[in-house]
């Protein structure tokens, strides 16, 4: 879910930057990296706190049912490990998707491709990521992966349209 948030936030940033005009690839790249890092730290801390509370509650319930202290047992250690693992995954997911979407801007800053090409390639990367995430979600829940892939792609396009519309109003 954090990967979805990360890619959509980057999409909003890129679209907003291009619609307002006078785009500098360095600014887009810098803002995008800042956004990716912020989302990653937010994902880590959010997941860590929520998972810690949930697992702590679960352990307390097990302790109550067993009438024994289960601190430092394999179950306790496994639950602590899963909290950290989930937090790391929640941090890595938005960082990876955001960085992938920003790769064309790295090429634009290095003058390998033009700014318009960077924008186009970035949009393509974002749509591919959105479609892949939807496709994967569809497979997990046992529904049509293609349908879910299209739904997530359409959500991305709607966000693009909304951001473009808002940016156009604000820059008038």
């Amino acid at each position: 879910m954090n990967a979805f948030d990360g890619v959509l936030a980057t999409f909003g940033l890129i679209t907003g930057a291009h619609i307002t005009g006078n785009v500098n690839p360095k600014v887009v790249l810098g803002s995008g990296l800042g956004l990716a890092l912020a989302m990653s730290i937010s994902g880590f801390s959010g997941a860590y706190i929520v998972e810690r509370v949930e697992r702590g509650q679960k352990l307390r319930e097990i302790k109550k049912a067993l009438f024994m202290n289960i601190d430092k047992t394999i179950l306790d250690k496994a639950m602590n490990f899963s909290v950290v693992l989930i937090a790391f995954i929640s941090a890595a997911a938005p960082l990876m998707t955001s960085l992938l979407a920003l790769v064309p801007y790295v090429l634009a800053v290095s003058n390998i491709i033009t700014l318009i090409q960077a924008f186009t390639y970035s949009l393509l990367v974002i749509l591919v990521i959105l479609f892949t995430l939807g496709y994967y979600m569809g497979r997990i829940i046992g529904k049509s992966p293609l349908k879910y892939g299209l739904i997530t792609s359409i959500i991305g396009l709607i966000i693009g349209l909304v951001v473009s519309f808002l940016a156009m109003i604000l820059t008038r």
Binding site: I62, A65, L66, M68, I70, I74, L75, A78
Partner: protein, 91 residues
């Protein structure tokens, strides 16, 4: 002469998150244990009651208890025990 345990039947309460496969393998890994049999006798929302039958030439109860505690299992009772007397074998 030495007295050793060769069969132990325990009534154990375990969390549902811990599988009987893991518990039985860990118990069978202890020195002196040759065979472990687990039967789930009761299933609750958060816990399961299991009947553990441990067989071996020289079972150490403290080691069994340590393994079970490590796997968040509570020993409720020792239901059966077989002990035998034998001569100490010196290497």
């Amino acid at each position: 002469m030495n007295v050793s345990i060769r069969r132990l039947v325990l009534d154990v309460l375990k969390p549902r998150e811990v599988t009987i496969v893991d518990i039985s393998k860990a118990l069978c890994d202890v020195n002196g244990v040759e065979e472990v049999n687990v039967v789930v006798t009761e299933v609750d929302v958060k816990t399961e009651t299991i009947r553990l039958t441990i067989k071996g030439s020289n079972i150490c109860y403290d080691d069994m208890a340590k393994v079970l505690t490590n796997y968040s299992c509570a020993i409720r009772s020792i239901d059966e025990i077989d002990v035998y007397k034998h001569k100490l074998v010196r290497a």
